[in-house]
């Protein structure tokens, strides 16, 4: 909130700056910032030994207000009142340059990223950061890239704002957990267990897709805000059921599940394991590298299937649906099935990712599937640029990577009040990023839309023309 008032009143920004107006503006900024900060920040309630007391932190509140007012003064003096012609001119030319520049570079971005991703574990092999933490982070980022790509089908292509995407992630995870711990041993005996992940994966995807259709069906007629809130409600309902249906899901305690194996060979320091079979030294890193390649494969499947679907009539219908639903119906497109397929395909990828998540974690509990996860995935898609697959890669790396950075930023502790860790600020930063992104770059990092078919020459469509869906 501390940055809040500095973006005030875009309409007065162009007005000429007089000293009295500036003073007035700064004083009102200061008052508002103080009102925002005083009770919440300056009067911290502390619970200790059965007594609640207040710790007064007026100094901090005034310091923050000073920062906000100072920033606003800076913006007034050096940014907002600069002659607009010069500013817009420079952005225009740089815009033009960046178009041609980006068009040449986009050709190489995707293959470059792919090669990098394929070789990533090898890099770590030669480098001292050969470290399971780095691999684990890479796996973590890839899960979110995959989730982002899955949600992108629903939000970015079909234009349906889904705030309950985590539900399908949960369905996939629990499908794996329940099948591998309860049903497979019952049906096929425990011998199947090492293979559980590979058998469950398609089942989990199908189950999630079915849920996508089941939850998608009632919301077909809804748009925009209504659709968002209903999908949010569905997501929460599924989580609440997972929490409360104790006999089936083991409630909040969660379920321990077998971890992923190398096609039947477990990763452990024992006979019959992966290292034993290949006659190499046991190392935990093998597990992480294998996880990495599994999730990379899954993510690439998501990528290429989606890319392919975009060029098929179904994908084009999704995009047309995002642009104008009524026009779609007037062209004989069954918007019901079109929407449902979008929900189903998106959910299926979510289910795959969920299944993988469970197999990586070795444990599932409802706690992993809260609303904030959905919001996070949505943030990744939005920041990446709705509909852009490459953009999602960058935003997932940026967001997930910055989470890790927040964890590392010990030096920040000097600035922060005692008892707060930088890591606590990560969701605050995500929320702020969503707001600021909508304000300054609403189309995300990648704003261009690639046409799916062309006669003579492939020209990207400017983001300003692309509708983001009414729902």
């Amino acid at each position: 909130m501390s940055v809040a008032p500095k973006n005030n009143s875009s309409s007065d920004d162009s007005k000429a700056l007089t000293t009295s107006a500036l003073t007035k503006d700064l004083i009102s900024t200061a008052i508002i910032t103080l009102l925002v900060l005083i009770p919440i920040v300056a009067m911290k309630t502390v619970i200790g030994q059965g007594i609640i007391s207040i710790v007064y932190r007026f100094g901090m509140a005034f310091a923050l207000t000073g920062i906000v007012v100072g920033t606003r003064l800076f913006l007034h003096l050096f940014v907002w009142h600069k002659a607009p012609s010069a500013g817009s001119k420079s952005t225009l030319t740089s815009g033009l340059k960046s178009v041609s520049f980006s068009e040449t570079i986009t050709k190489y971005i995707a293959p470059g990223l792919l090669i990098f991703a394929l070789l990533f574990p090898v890099f770590t092999f030669f480098h001292p950061i050969w470290d399971k933490r780095v691999m684990d982070l890479a796996v973590y980022i890839l899960i979110y890239i995959m989730l982002g790509w899955g949600l992108n089908v629903v939000v970015g292509l079909a234009g349906l704002l889904d705030l309950g995407y985590v539900a399908f992630y949960a369905v996939g995870a629990y499908a794996y957990a329940l099948l591998s711990t309860v049903y497979f041993p019952q049906w096929f005996g425990t011998g199947i267990l090492p293979w559980a992940f590979y058998i469950t994966l398609p089942v989990a995807g199908l189950l999630a897709a079915t849920w996508g259709v089941v939850l998608g069906f009632p919301v077909l007629r809804l748009r925009g805000d209504y659709l968002a809130i209903v999908t949010l409600a569905f997501g929460e309902m599924i989580r609440l059921v997972l929490v409360n249906w104790f006999s089936f899901t083991n409630g909040p305690q969660g379920i321990s599940v077998p971890k992923i194996t190398f096609f039947g060979l477990p990763f452990k320091d024992a006979p019959g394991s992966f290292s034993d079979f290949f006659g190499i030294q046991f190392n935990r890193i093998h597990f992480y590298i294998f996880l990495y390649y599994v999730i990379l494969t899954l993510a690439l499947i998501t990528y290429f299937v989606t890319k392919r679907l975009r060029r098929l009539p179904i994908g084009r219908a999704w995009e047309a649906l995002r642009e104008d639903e009524i026009a779609c119906r007037s062209l004989g497109i069954n918007t019901t099935t079109t929407k449902l397929t979008a929900f189903a395909i998106g959910a299926m990828f979510g289910g795959f990712a969920g299944s993988f998540f469970a197999a990586r974690q070795g444990f599932v509990s409802p706690e992993s599937f809260v609303y904030i996860e959905s919001a996070l995935i949505l943030a990744i898609v939005v920041l990446g640029g709705l509909g852009s697959q490459i953009g999602i890669v960058f935003s997932a790396i940026a967001i997930m990577g910055s989470f890790e950075l927040f964890r590392e930023m010990d030096f920040m502790k000097v600035v922060l009040p005692s008892g707060t860790e930088p890591i606590q600020f990560r969701m605050l930063a995500v929320g702020l990023a969503m707001v600021l992104m909508m304000r300054f770059r609403p189309r995300g990092f990648v704003t261009k839309r690639e046409p799916t078919v062309f006669l003579k020459e492939k020209k990207s469509v400017s983001g300003d023309l692309v509708a983001e869906g009414h729902g």
Partner: protein, 328 residues
Amino acid sequence: MMNWTKDPELQVQHLTMRFGGLTAIGDLSFDAGRKQITALIGPNGAGKTTVFNCITGFYKPTEGMIKLRHPDGKEFLLERMDDFIITQKAKVARTFQNIRLFSGMTLLENLMVAQHNTLMRASGFTIGGIFGSGHFKRAENEAIEKCKYWLNKVNLTERADDAAGDLPYGAQRRLEIARAMCTNPRLLCLDEPAAGLNPRESDELNKLLLSIRDDHNMAILLIEHDMSVVMGISDHIVVLDYGRKIADGTPNEIKNDPAVIRAYLGVEEDENEVAVGSVKVADLVNEGLAVHANVPTRTVPKVSASPKKPVATKTVVKKPAAKKGGRK
């Protein structure tokens, strides 16, 4: 020239549409002939677009029957069908009063979307397409050929790979017609295709519509305010006012119909009608049908693309109640 009743493509019978207490269309019946351009005209708010929405299934009529007959004898009762099924099976395509293009997609993509159902079948409902079946490749190439044909027809080949939203207004109207034609319709419903076009563009539009009628054997149903278009190309005109049909006939018959002129100009019968009428006069001046004592006569000749002389204003105003046989 009464052949629209003999073998009509579209029969609208006793169509009534009510919104709450408001009757937007009351007991409307008319036919649209095969290979004919049927124009639906009337003052603003007469219910023309509502008729379109009923025919294309966007509204479910309160009462009445809308029957479509293909030349091969297949019959469809449109009031019972969903909007997208009407386009799919009954082969009715439409455009919209406020253009509804997929503005972020290229022209070519817009036309490809229109062939969705054909392509969907060819792609084996996506499954074949995902594995790149040759059958789908061929179907896609055919679809692109068709897009090329229609882009050429509406003079937009040069801009095939541009975003539809980048097109100027007149071109967007043409593209919308091309897109509707890509669905292989039998009946094409155009909602004010000439709105906002300059005279040259509306001339081109006339040629395009005539070619669609003659070269593609299509029935066209047209809502239009631009009388140069209506009188120039329609075979049959149906006039609506307050949701009711007040006249139905050939352009010549309509031009002489006192009920039509009364509806457009307003007569001092009751206050309400006068008010509506006086608003309309201004529009009519622009549209060329205005025939009013206060309006200079030079606006009149625009009406008569046909040799018939314009209607004498005075007689009409004096005999407001006279009803002619033109009303059925």
